[in-house]
Structures are given as C-alpha cells and as structure tokens.
Symmetry: C2
DNA sequence: GTGAAAGCGCTAACAA
DNA sequence: TTGTTAGCGCTTTCAC
C-alpha cells in the first residue's frame, strides 16, 4: 500500500481535487456538507498531505532551521526547546542542528536548510557566516543571530551582554579578595568566549594588583574542562591561580572534577570558581557553582518571534535585542 | 533575487536540464568537460537544489525522524548526537524532536514526519504507538524503537535491559545493607520506568527483610526529583527510606538538591542513592552519584543502522538488539 | 461553491 | 554522451 493523494480523496468524496485542497487550506469557503464528506474520505484513506508537493508549489517550507554551538550544553538545549515551543505556536516546526563549534558542520546544516527552503534560520555562528547569510537573505531566507550580535548590525540578533557577564564574574572574584585570576575558555573565534574574556579584562583593568591569565581550550565541554584542570593541578601550588572564571558551566564542572575531586584542591579556599550559563546542574555540583545566569528560554522565544516577523516582511529593519546577565553566587566562590 | 533552478543552470551552461540533473546525481556518466561547465554555472548562479522537488519526484526524503522522551536529558542528547553522526555518514539528516513524555507532542512529530515523508523514524515511545507505526510502515515509512522493546516484536528495537538495570541497582543497595528501599520514578506508562521498577521488585523478592516503596512522579526531570525530595524530607526520620533508587539521574540530582543540600540528610549514611543513565554530571554532583550506565551513543548508532537497512529492504525481519547496563558505584551509595 | 487546468523543480526513462 | 519529456502532489487562478 502506498500513500494516497488529493486525487484519491477527491475521487472517494466525489469532488474535484481543487475542492479537496480548499478544505485543506481554506475550509471556510467550502460548504459544510462538502467539508464533512471530504474529511470523511481523508480519514477513510488515512490521507496525509505531502509537504514536499505543497512546498514546491508555494515556494517555501513550514520549517525553521536552528543551529546552536552544542547539542549537549543545557543552555542551548533550553534555548532550543523554547524556540520549538514558539515555532509550534505559530504553526512552524524547527529543524535543530548543532555545529559542535565546527565550521564544516555549521556549513553542512546551512546547506541542508537551503535545500529545504526553510522559512528562516536561527543561528549561533562559529565562523564568519555573514556573507553566507546575506546571500541566503537575498534569496528569501532571512536569519537572526542567537546569543550573538552581528558585527555590522545588518542582521537581527538576540543576545546577552557577554562583556558585562565577564566583567560581573571577575569583579565578583576581585571583590572577594582574589588576585591571580585565570580565564579558562574555548576557541577564541567564538564570540561569546572572546567577549567574556574582554569583560574579564575590563574588570581587571581597574585593579593594579590583579593579574589575568587566559587559558585557551579547543571546546566548551566537560572533557576540555578536565584537561585544563589537570594542567593546573600539575603546577606547583604557588603558581596556580587563586580564582578561575570558566567560559561556561560545562568547563567549570570539568574543572571541579580534576581540581577538587582528583586534585584535592580546596574550592573555594585555594581556588574560587565561577562558571557561566547557570545550567540546571550548577546548583547541584560537587561544590555548588557560582555562575552567570542567562535567560535561555527568553532568547529562544524572542529569536523565533523576530525571525517570523522578518519572514513575513523582508523590509523590516534589523533589530538588536540584548539582555543583561545576572550573577548567582554559590559556594564555589563564597570565601 | 530568487533561487535559480536547473533550468537556469542548463541555460548558462548551454546543456539540457537532463544533463544538469545527471551531473547532480550521476556525474560519472557525463563527460568531464560538461561536468566542469555545469559546475561552474552552478557556482556562478549559486544554485542550490530544491529538495522538495527532488523528494516529490523520488517519493521520499533524505531525512530520518527521531523522537526522544526528553530534549534536556543528557542520555537522550548523546543518543541523538550519535544518531546524527551515523545518519550524516550515510547521507541522511535527522530531524530530532522530543515528546517531553507527552502523547500529543509525540503524535505531532509523527504527523510532521509523515507529511515530510521521512525515510524512516526512530522513536522512544510514550503511548502505545504500535498501530500507528504499523500504518506508517504499510505506507513505506519503517521505524525502529530506541531504548525500548516492542511488545509484540513486530518492530526492530535497540534497547538496554531495564529490568536487569533495576535489579542491578537494588541488589547493590541490598548488599550494602539497606532495608527500606524507595523507588522514585516517572509516569509508569513509560516502559523504561516500569521495567526498572520491575527489576527492583525482583531484586527485593529474594530478601524477606527488605521493603520496596514506589513513589510515582509526573516526569523524569530535576524538578520532579526535587518535589519527591521535599516529600521525603517532611516525613519523620523514622519513616524515611534508607535507600532510594531513582529512575534516572535527573531525578537523582533533584533528590540530592532537596535531601542533601536543603534537608541536611546525610548521603549515603542516612539515605543511599542510586540513579540511572550515568550522565556526564553524575560523577560531579554534590555527592558523586552511583548510577547505571547505558551505552547511549551505541544505541543511537545501531538504531540508525537498522533503520536504514530496513528502509532499503522492507522485507527484513525485525531484530531486537539489547544491551546490558552496568553498575557504576560512587559515593552516593558507598557505605 | 465547485471544477478544470497550469505549473512549481526535479528525476528518470527513453530517444537521438 | 546528451536531449526531450512525462509526471510526482499540490495550490491557485479563472471559469462556471
């Protein structure tokens, strides 16, 4: 048995295929009896509309593309869930992919989204994809940046002030008496990372006695956090930092595993630790984690809203929405 | 500007559209020079194939549908990532959704997948969807169950022995001297939950002095774990369990938050705790969590492989693949 | 309120 | 090796 089409439904209901299409798309213009008859026929045949055919005809799909930096970071999974909820409400579905911070994965999803003629794309970019996005916009696929501002402001964005966040974290560390601060972060091409570092530098700038060391990793994962932790444990105690600001909570949890659980370094006494994102596990980690909270759901919902507005009206001026992060103090930094 | 089509490419390259299609799909049968010329034209026009049109023609898409129970449970996000990797290798993309353990969400995704004419679906079901899957299979969309066995074995599945897992957990608790055991689990319609409880019951059965209390929650989330924890804290100490087996790690972490961090109940001295899944955070939680490890990536990869094989050959007999779980002992249960 | 028919972009069978 | 053509299932004028 194979899928039935409008033609089969039309035959069974003894109407034309045009009418079937109408009950599908504008039931209000067809008489109640006909709607009834057609609906019945659809059920009898368990008809399911062929989205590809619909899309081929109308020119674009009912899907939104979303690319995040990670599929396992709770910050992004929350954001994704919120985006899905928002999209569903508006009658769209979202195809979510994650770049794992890799340019070729990012590019692969963009290809897919173009082939699929998605209605628009939400993206937290790795590389410099503005030219690519511009080309897509020219062909009718708008995009909005999530958790990131576009350099040239030619695209809408929904982000959180990462410079302020970095500053918030490090200021807190300095105010609790720390002097040798290390920033542990992922690849610096990722804007979120470089901005948080920038904020950290700003905070340090006003305090002559305070030093800031930047430790650069390959990714923002628990594994990489562990790696950084091992390197720190191996140092002589005197040359270790007395505080670490991790670019996200996953990193911080990795650090906790090697520093505290394996390395027996007292947190926060010997080293204070601040993470970023305030994921659900931050408060329940081995040493409850001080973190910078971001409104993940709000970002996802807002981004979908902006995107859909721009899909409906391509002439809309790009808008930059920026939320402020919030410091949540817990044991890992409470001296 | 609007997307260009094979027609535009053909015109620019001065070939027929059939030839353009051939360089797209079977470049080996067209002469190198022509390939060259057509490729150049494609680049010049930045042509992107219209997947909807291709799909309409060939009858099915290059996408696989995947429905998990949760988008925020690391067990499922790992499984999803593995499935994506496997699918990508085979030239497919995966559209991942999560039911949040809700039947209507599950059904919504199945509708979407049917409209999209995905090549097949991977699903960790909530309700009894076998009839629905059967209907889809009749229409050419095969499916394989993930993390779950079909009751009637008419579908392939890739799962982990949850009864063995539950038994493993509770046997461990009994052997470390616990007598009043509580099972904290989500909705019992979820097979994983009822099987883990079943395993727990089996373990208890052989030990006369041991009791098992089942506490049923609405979902397998950190929040619900907290809720269960609060209820236990409120009991007089004497009537509290001396061990808890949580149906997953998220629940266990929620329990840790209320029992240990708010309620000042010593873990494992007063209450031992065992979780399930061994997610990345289990080892770094406030009291490192004893857990039952499942091969999440292996499940995802294997499921994709089976699905693709069945998509290529619908006559294939269903296969049941079942992995064994593994106990990982950490501080939360080490008396 | 309903029907007839064109055409979206592509692939594949067949012809040249 | 390349070109021509039918047709996938749908939506949408335009008649009636």
């Amino acid at each position: 048995m194979v899928s039935s089409s409008v033609k089969d439904v039309a035959a069974l209901a003894r109407v034309s295929i045009g009418t079937v299409s109408n009950v599908l798309n504008r039931p209000e213009i067809v008489s109640p009896e006909t709607v009834e008859r057609v609906t019945l026929a659809m059920e009898k045949l368990s008809y399911v509309r062929n989205e590809a055919a619909r899309q081929l005809r109308v020119g674009h799909s009912h899907a939104l593309g979303l690319i995040t930096l990670s599929g396992s970071n709770p910050f992004f999974t929350d954001l994704t869930t919120a985006a899905e909820d928002g999209a569903t409400l508006a009658g769209y579905s979202v195809i979510a992919g994650n770049s794992d911070e890799k340019k070729d994965r990012e590019s692969g999803y963009l290809n897919l989204f173009e082939e699929l003629r998605v209605r628009g794309v939400l993206i937290s970019p790795v590389g410099n994809i503005v030219p690519r996005l511009r080309r897509m916009r020219d062909r009718g696929i708008p995009s909005v940046l999530v958790d990131r501002v576009s350099n040239d402001l030619s695209f809408s964005s929904v982000s959180v002030d990462d410079i302020a966040g970095g500053s918030l974290a490090v200021t807190h560390l300095i105010e609790s008496g720390r002097r040798r601060i290390a920033f542990v972060g992922g690849p610096s091409e990722i804007r979120q990372v470089s901005d948080r570092l920038r904020g950290a530098r700003q905070a340090v700038a006003g305090h002559p006695g305070v030093t800031l060391e930047a430790i650069t990793l390959n990714a923002l994962t628990v594994q990489e956090g562990r790696r950084a932790g091992e390197a720190i444990v191996e140092r002589p105690a005197a040359s270790r930092p007395d505080a670490i600001f991790a670019a996200n909570d996953l990193l911080a949890i990795g650090l906790l595993q090697t520093l505290f659980m394996q390395g027996n370094i007292a947190i926060p006494e010997e080293i204070a630790l601040v993470g970023y994102d305030d994921i659900l596990f931050a408060s329940a980690s081995v040493v409850p984690l001080t973190s910078i909270r971001q409104p993940s759901r709000l970002i996802g919902e807002t981004a979908v809203r902006l995107l859909l507005e721009e899909a409906d009206d391509p002439e809309l001026e790009p808008r930059q929405i920026r939320y402020q992060p919030e410091l949540v103090v817990r044991a890992s930094s409470a001296s």
